[in-house]
């Protein structure tokens, strides 16, 4: 949809540390534009991260998550060289998937 997500996944002794920066307006639906019209809500609703076919994070977001959302978390079960997939879907039905190899 918009710009690709920037994903960084590094393997540490504690597990895989994942940082994702997504590109998305995240409109709350409460803001008014220059003409006084309410800008409709447009925000990411779900984010799924998976590795080796297994979901490692399943996030449900509301409009209160900041524009160009940042997400960071850690999980165990994959190593350097495995592929990590991040997918988001928003309230308008758009979605985006990006993959990265764990470093």
């Amino acid at each position: 949809m918009a710009d690709p997500m920037r994903i960084r996944a590094t393997s540490t002794p504690d597990g895989v540390d994942v940082r994702v920066l997504m590109s998305h307006e995240m409109e709350t639906g409460q803001r008014r534009d220059g003409g006084g019209q309410l800008v409709p809500a447009h925000f990411i609703q779900t984010v799924k991260v998976s590795c080796k076919g297994k979901t490692v994070l399943d996030a449900l977001w509301g409009p209160a998550v900041s524009k160009n959302p940042y997400l960071q978390f850690k999980f165990k079960g994959c190593d350097k060289g495995d592929e990590l997939t991040v997918t988001w879907t928003d309230n308008k039905g758009d979605s985006r998937t990006d993959k990265v190899v764990i470093a």
Partner: protein
């Protein structure tokens, strides 16, 4: 049979007309069918949100840590992290008490994922941030006050 078809055509026409007339935005009409927990995102406070998530009154817990600035300079981008030391943490939710809707974000953590998440949220004004943790199907929470100098919902 004909009655059903008439009803379906009638209701979709009405939804469409309402969307066109701006009474019901198109996003809302679509979101009705999403498997996103709309009820949980519509609640106004901690107790209501936990109820919508399927729990009773949450217990306060010292095993949850919220990492957030004491004073956030920009309410549109407040970095908030939650770490839970409660065993069998299944999900973490971040709530902002004084936002129009309390629930900002929820994270379902399958086994194997560390119970630590960080993200950035919008806060409309100085408010308590609650971190709610679901572990073993029970709900726990902790609170931190975050002061906001410039509100995050666009004024």
């Amino acid at each position: 049979m004909n009655e059903q078809r008439r009803n379906i055509v009638k209701s979709s026409a009405i939804l469409g007309l309402m969307a066109a007339a701006g009474l019901l935005s198109i996003e809302q009409a679509q979101a009705q069918s999403a498997d996103w927990n709309k009820a949980a995102f519509d609640t106004k406070d901690l107790a209501g949100t936990v109820k919508a998530l399927g729990g009773d009154a949450p217990t306060q817990s010292a095993e949850i840590a919220i990492t957030a600035p004491d004073i956030a300079e920009n309410g549109a981008v407040v970095p908030v992290g939650v770490t839970s030391k409660i065993p069998n943490t299944q999900a973490v939710y971040i709530l902002v008490e004084k936002n129009p809707n309390a629930l900002a974000a929820g994270f379902n953590l399958p086994a194997g994922t560390e119970p630590t998440v960080s993200t950035r949220i919008k806060m409309g004004q100085t408010s308590n941030v609650h971190a709610v943790v679901k572990a073993d199907n029970k709900f726990y929470y902790t609170t931190k006050e975050v002061k906001v100098t410039l509100g995050g919902c666009g004024g």
